[in-house]
Symmetry: C2
Subunit: 147 residues, 2 copies
């Protein structure tokens, strides 16, 4: 299977990976969630090849994850902001970060903590069930065919 065929799979994971599954995209989104918005800033912070950054940003705009907003005229310059669809990726990013925290942080703890403003505490993301609200264990989930 080639990479560009992935988006035509019916599996939702495959379709999600067609958008965010390459080597750079989630790192670009990490920066976006940290409020980085401009080409030069992404490039400098990530050390990504400029051509690749151009492609990824254009792809994310085409996929509706980012949108390009002019922040000045003459010369017109654009910045990249997360759309609502992009914000919906936050659980993915946080789940990855917390997996990294759990398995790779040293004794001094994770490099970045996340405070839940509405309750005031630092937290980890917990996978919970939209139906009963309880935490979900992987062994307690049964996939079955849908639509």
């Amino acid at each position: 299977m080639r990479w560009d065929e992935l988006s035509s799979e019916k599996c939702s994971l495959a379709r999600a990976l067609a958008v965010v599954g390459d080597r750079w995209t989630l790192l670009i989104l990490r920066e976006a969630f940290l409020r980085v918005r401009r080409f030069e800033d992404f490039q400098a912070r990530l050390g990504i090849a400029r051509r690749v950054l151009t492609e990824r940003l254009a792809g994310l705009v085409a996929d509706g994850v980012l949108r390009k907003v002019a922040y000045q005229e003459r010369p017109t310059r654009y910045e990249y902001r997360l759309t609502d669809k992009g914000l919906d990726l936050y659980p993915v990013v946080l789940a990855l970060v917390h997996w990294g925290d759990a398995h790779y942080a040293g004794p001094e703890g994770p490099p970045v903590l996340h405070r839940h403003k509405s309750c005031g505490h630092d937290f980890r993301s917990v996978l919970s069930c939209s139906a009963c609200g309880g935490a979900v264990d992987p062994r307690d989930v049964e996939p079955h065919p849908g639509g």
Copy 2:
């Protein structure tokens, strides 16, 4: 930045992506969560190049996400099973699947549903706070430096 430098970043997202951030790994793990365990089955289901599959499986074993278990002698043959560290990736996979469901499923609904056995309902994963238990909105999270 080159790919092999990613694992030496201090960012937990970067470290997580050094393990699961390439084009195939999460698809391999999807199959693993569906209880696929053998080389030929992964290969046939994913249509992945055999050389790449060999590399990815070896990498995941080296990273402690899968372990190689002999399932017969003469000839000795191995299968690949998720470790606890691998099972910990389930929230990541489910978050991606549900993002795909939310943004790419057709009117007939998502192709795969997930039943929470302990409550009996199909569910979506909800990002919730380990401190207060409530659902977390991305705009309600403040990252700050940790250890």
